[in-house]
């Protein structure tokens, strides 16, 4: 007996009939509570992988790049594959926080914090590879245009690798600032709730003296908007520049004009897949089912479907153009019959199956709303995107212009170890983050709490009384505790 028309289209973005206080408590719970066994197990595994990775890096730096499986023909393999893979993963964060902010997509609020955290942590992993892949990493600072004692010696501004240096460092710093800005009110919330002096001190440092005044909020909104405006072009630029590493070269299969849009789409594709992977686990482990709902998963799957489509078109274009070029120097590029039937057929088909075929299942509504399937698809896409970069780098390099120099690549334990190490490092950071940071932008979530009036209608129907002031009345809340303290009020 609705008194007015209610649009049936939108599903609520926060379920479980949360009050503002519930949100606060839910988000603060992992920080204030104790870690469970599962967390410790996951953390230990990640830490061991991380340490193993450090060991492998030390071995590489002290002995030489020769401990990897590279050769005179294939100068890059897992190193740059991992680099591009991690940078790609790092794409979703900025897209979610910046682009979706500009487009006023409210559903981003549940996922943006973790997506941005993921971005920063994966860019950290990505940044490792260009340094350790150098023959003399101790001279890595030479790629920075800093004044030096070598006379007029300067960096080579023609080199895409140099552009990478700027692109990645800009991206990392803007992402970090953006992330931190969003974190300020939430850190303040934690600060206000903290009872131990040490924690209080830490969180008050982290929250930069946030007071929750109206002026604070105004500035917060303004800065967020400005940063979103700044970060949006970065979403396009970073992977465009990464793709220049390949597109500006003369290697058959690399030298391709569609690389920039294709790489950006691929990066968003893989970034969203990684966000899905992380959040599907996190909503269970950190009891965030009410905030990260089926709707969120579906929205993200739709983005995956779109970007996956772009990527698929790019694959088809690459395949067609290689054939259409009519030159047999393109016979063995990574998307060609030569690759599909050559020694790297498995890598070729891994790419096609993981990135092209499997994501098509998301056209089915039931599947894209299914947590388990979404999780499986996200993992498959992550694998597929790793293979995409592996194929681009290794298959194209292995069969260059002169057949006399063709060769193959097989990784050593060090290659594998460093890759696992970065995965370990990533999860070490992410697990620490999950235990110490507000993993959902609770301040923002609170702005959309009332988007559904279901509860009030139900109350009206059941109790038949006025609902005025219900939100402020603890009795109408599902929350049965008594602690409605002032800090909650202060932060919201």
């Amino acid at each position: 007996m609705a008194s007015h028309y209610e649009a049936p289209i939108r599903e609520p973005l926060v379920t479980g009939e949360k009050s503002y206080h519930d949100v606060t408590v839910d988000i603060a719970a992992p920080v204030e509570g104790r870690a469970n066994k599962l967390w410790w197990i996951a953390f230990s595994i990640a830490l061991v992988a991380f340490l193993w990775g450090i060991g492998c890096i030390i071995y590489t730096v002290s002995t030489g790049i020769g401990v990897w499986g590279l050769n005179k023909t294939i100068g890059w393999a897992w190193d740059i594959t991992n680099f591009v893979w991690w940078v790609g993963i790092g794409h979703a964060g900025t897209l979610i926080s910046a682009v979706l902010l500009l487009f006023r997509q409210k559903w981003r609020m549940a996922v943006n914090r973790s997506a941005e955290a993921m971005t920063i942590f994966s860019v950290v992993q990505a940044g490792l590879f260009p340094i350790i892949h150098m023959g003399r990493p101790w001279l890595a600072y030479w790629v920075l245009p800093i004044p030096n004692q070598f006379g007029s010696l300067w960096v080579n501004f023609n080199s895409p690798l140099l552009w990478d240096v700027f692109a990645i460092s800009t991206y990392l710093s803007v992402s970090l600032v953006f992330w931190w800005t969003g974190l300020l009110p939430d850190f303040a919330m934690l600060r206000d709730r903290a009872v131990k002096p040490f924690q209080k001190k830490i969180y008050s440092l982290l929250s930069f003296g946030w007071t929750g005044r109206a002026k604070d909020w105004q500035r917060f909104e303004e800065v967020s908007l400005v940063l979103a405006g700044l970060a949006t072009p970065l979403v396009l630029s970073v992977h465009t520049i990464v793709s220049f590493d390949f597109a500006t070269s003369v290697v058959a299969g690399w030298h391709s004009t569609i690389y920039p849009p294709y790489f950006v789409a691929g990066a968003i594709f893989s970034g969203f897949a990684m966000v899905l992977t992380l959040l599907i686990i996190m909503r269970k482990v950190s009891n965030l089912e009410a905030y990260i709902t089926r709707v969120h998963i579906e929205y993200m799957n739709k983005v995956i479907l779109l970007t996956g489509g772009v990527v698929s078109v790019a694959y088809i274009t690459e395949f067609f153009i290689a054939w259409y070029s009519g030159t047999n120097y393109e016979d063995y590029t990574y998307l060609s019959i030569g690759a599909a039937t050559g020694p790297y057929w498995w890598a070729f088909w891994a790419l096609i199956i993981c990135n092209f075929i499997v994501p098509q299942t998301l056209w089915v509504k039931k599947l894209r709303r299914n947590f388990t399937w979404s999780f499986i698809v996200s993992i498959i896409i992550n694998i597929g995107m790793w293979f995409e970069r592996f194929d681009i780098i290794v298959i194209n390099l292995s069969k260059g212009h002169l057949p006399s120099s063709w060769s193959m690549f097989s990784p050593t334990f060090v290659d594998v170890g460093i890759y696992l190490g970065t995965i370990g490092f990533f999860f070490v950071l992410f697990l620490l983050y999950a235990r110490t940071f507000p993993v959902i932008a609770q301040a923002e979530i609170k702005t959309i709490l009332k988007s559904s009036g279901e509860r009030y209608k139900r109350m009206r129907d059941v109790e038949g009384k006025s609902i005025a002031g219900a939100a402020a009345d603890p009795r109408t809340s599902n929350y049965s505790g008594t602690n409605t303290n002032s800090s909650d009020q202060a932060t919201k």
Partner: protein
Amino acid sequence: MASNRKYWSSVEELKPNSSIADTLKQNEFVEEIPTAEFLGNEEALGASSTSRRDFLKYVGFTTAAASLAACEGPVTKSIPYVVQPENIIPGVANYYATTIANGFDFSSILIKTREGRPIMVEHNKEAKINGSPNARVYASVLDLYDSLRVQGPKANGEYTSWDELDTQVVAALNSAKASGKQIALLTQTYASPSTKKLIAEFSQKFANVKHIQYDAISEDAALDAFESTYGQRALADYDFSKAEVIVSFAADFLGDWQGGGYDAGYAKGRIPTQGKMSRHIQFESNMSLTGANADKRVPLTPSELKIALAKFYGYLNGRSVTGSLPAHIDEAVKAAATQVARAGRNAVVVTGISDVNAQKVVLAINKTISSVVMDAEKPKLTRQGNVKALNQLVADMNAGQVGVLVTSNVNPLYTMANAAEFEAGLAKVDLSVAFSLKEDETASKTTYVAAAPHYLESWGDVEMKKGMYSLMQPTIRPLFNTRQFQDAILKWTGSSLNYHDYIKQTWETSILGLDSWNQALHDGVYESSLSVGETEQADAVAVETPQVEAEAAVVSVADAVRALAGTTPAEGMELTFYSKISMGDGQQANNPWLQELPDPLTRNTWDNYLTISMADAERLDFENYIEDNGGLNGSYAKVTVGDVTLDKVPVLIQPGQAKNTVGLSFGYGKKLGLKTPMQTGVNAYALYQGFDLTQQVKIEKVSGIHEFASVQMKSTMDGRGDILRETSLEIFNTKDSEHWNPQPVVSVNHAEVPADDATLWSTFDSSIGHHFNLSIDLNACTGCGACVIACHAENNVPVVGKSEVRKYRDMHWLRIDRYYSSEETFEGDMDMVEAAPNSISTYHKLEHPSENPQVAFQPVMCQHCNHAPCETVCPVAATSHGRQGQNQMVYNRCVGTRYCANNCPYKVRRFNWFRYNENDEFDFHMNDDLGRMVLNPDVVVRSRGVMEKCSMCIQMTQKTILDAKRDGRPIKDGEFKTACSAACSSGAMVFGDVNDKESEVVKQKASNRMYHLLGFKGTRPNVFYHTKIRNTEEV
């Protein structure tokens, strides 16, 4: 008388009882130091700012600074000249003409020494014969610095003194003389007039002396045939530059056939001039370097080969010869005979069959057609080995008739099939001395090891060819306590001369006539009409009965042909031995440069293997496959000849190998006197029974997988005919170059323009100063690999070892790509691509070489692109363009991103994956002080983590420029050189300044055969190639 000098420091001291002097003696300081004043002034002290804390800071800082300063930097030991030697100017190279004559390689060379160290072998322009060193000779300078050389005379594994050795040997010689026992000298072929004379004198003194010369890879059949035809134990010489038609029956004359050294002449005839070039037809079983260069190659078994030669003789002389051949071979033989008949005296026939009859027939054919190519008047003397004499010696030794055995630079216990017999005999010899560089298989079994000097520390002379002499002189003081064989013989004969004086005496009395010894020594070579006494006599004897000889020859040739025609086809497989251009007879097996030099055909390093045809491999279940890391793996075979078995011989499928035949190279499987990494391969000499290069063989598959170290995974060109352009002589002569050598064009504003005219870059003016170009003629290049080793030596290129080569991490700055055709010819490949481009079946067909493919070689080094892809991508600008056209690599600036290597379409950049010097993991010459002496001081040794590549020998071009500048003269064409172009005996590589419009390289560039490798990429290389022309004209 003791000195009573008195020293004084001031006049005051001279005065007796001077108070000032006294005071000064007591006080260190002339003026009073105002300590009291200073310390007494408490106010000032209190106001001073040095507090206790400051004091502690200073103490802390100074302690830290002192301890830091105490950390010493690495100490490099260097000893300056106390007295600067005459002729040595630090930084300026000295050159000496000398000769290598190690029994296998004979070559007149120039040695470059720096600060007294020989560091590089170069071509001796004065030499008219054997003046173009091969890869082994270029590498021989490293043997000098071999850390495993015997460093002094040894008895029973302990170092002893030369005096001790002399006493014992002379006693043994005398007792042998007394007891009538034989004194045997078993030596390499010296071809040395002085040594010959010396040994004659030695024989006179001790009587009963036998001098047996022994070649590990015997040319006995050819020597016997020549002796019976021309009366002298020598080998005919050939000048292939005069040949219009060359028919070779398994003669690998671009390899080591009869001593080799024929590639320069051959290459001359291969460059089409006025529409003509030589036609080369090769009949052979193994795919040899010579066969690979042939216009037509017919694979056949060794027994068919003999019949084919007989038939060839028949067709040529219009006689019918019995014996049957498969139809296609018969046809090819017939065609070859027709071609030879047509070319008449401009044709030549050669053979490598180790059968006296075959050799006789060939000599007879060349004589009949009076070939201008063959020179029997002045034969080559660089092979003297005598199998009969050797066998007699082994018999005598076993019979206990040999009192003293002296060996010199031979290793029969490794190189003889019946080594066990020799060893048994050796035990019965009273006293044996081995003059050897190494404690090898033989030296470790003799009573004494007489440490021999390397040829760069020795004196010597060689008569390469009758009347063509060459001198060997030391280029460094002996590194160790060594003595050369001839010096020892002189000493034992009781002569007071040393070998230098002896040679000088011999030359002055019987060779030089009135010419100057110093001039001959300076030139290193000498051409004389005189000859040493004995040879003259032998010749005189031979001349006595020419008529009878000739008649006998006709009869014997007919017999020989009959014998050849009657060859019974072998049952089962036949094995043909060959020697690799890298390893030769195996005496340089401890040379890492040579071990790592890829075989020109198989492109394999660090190994020998059984080459087998695809069909036989399938039949016998052998396989070759590429592992995941790109490394080549192969099965093992058990190879049995007679009752000798080699258990595990790796099998390599070789396109072009005749069916039912296998090949195996000498020189590997050595165990003593080698560093562990060099002990690779199997010893083929064990199967070399009766010094016959072909053997009946039984082959079985055995378990296990062998890991090869190949530098080339893909053996075909994959239909990319643009890479190595070639065409036939007919098309070359009749069609416009646009047809067979199209220059790349690109579309600019919808009009086609030459690719080089289209650019996005602003170019700088390269017409000022020098601008270097390198021309490579694919017709002249035989693929011999000398340039690769010369580059190694000049540029301190590291050796990385077998396992690293297998991972495609070889460091060669210059490589020689080898391609096989997938169809019978490369033309066929291109037809297939045109007929069905982009079809899957075309892909798969093009990936595999044909059964008997055409072969093409292409040397590839940094192309020094004027628009270099590597230069734009380096983030730190470590590789940049020089004003003289070089693409320069600045090692110090390189951070090692390897982006440049990825972006290089030619794949010529090499990365230092590890530190290759002073690293026990890479225990080659750069890991010991002795081996490092070979390093070129003008070129830096690269550190780990940096990229390196061909520099176009910028250190050589700069030297030329500076020398000319100092002399104030313009640079002549031909002065500019790179190590590879200087080493290229075939003239395939021409280097020069294109701004010098008169230069040879400009002429080469103007040729219509000129093309740039991957020119369509727009890289504008400074290296260019000449389209290969094949003379496919059949009669």
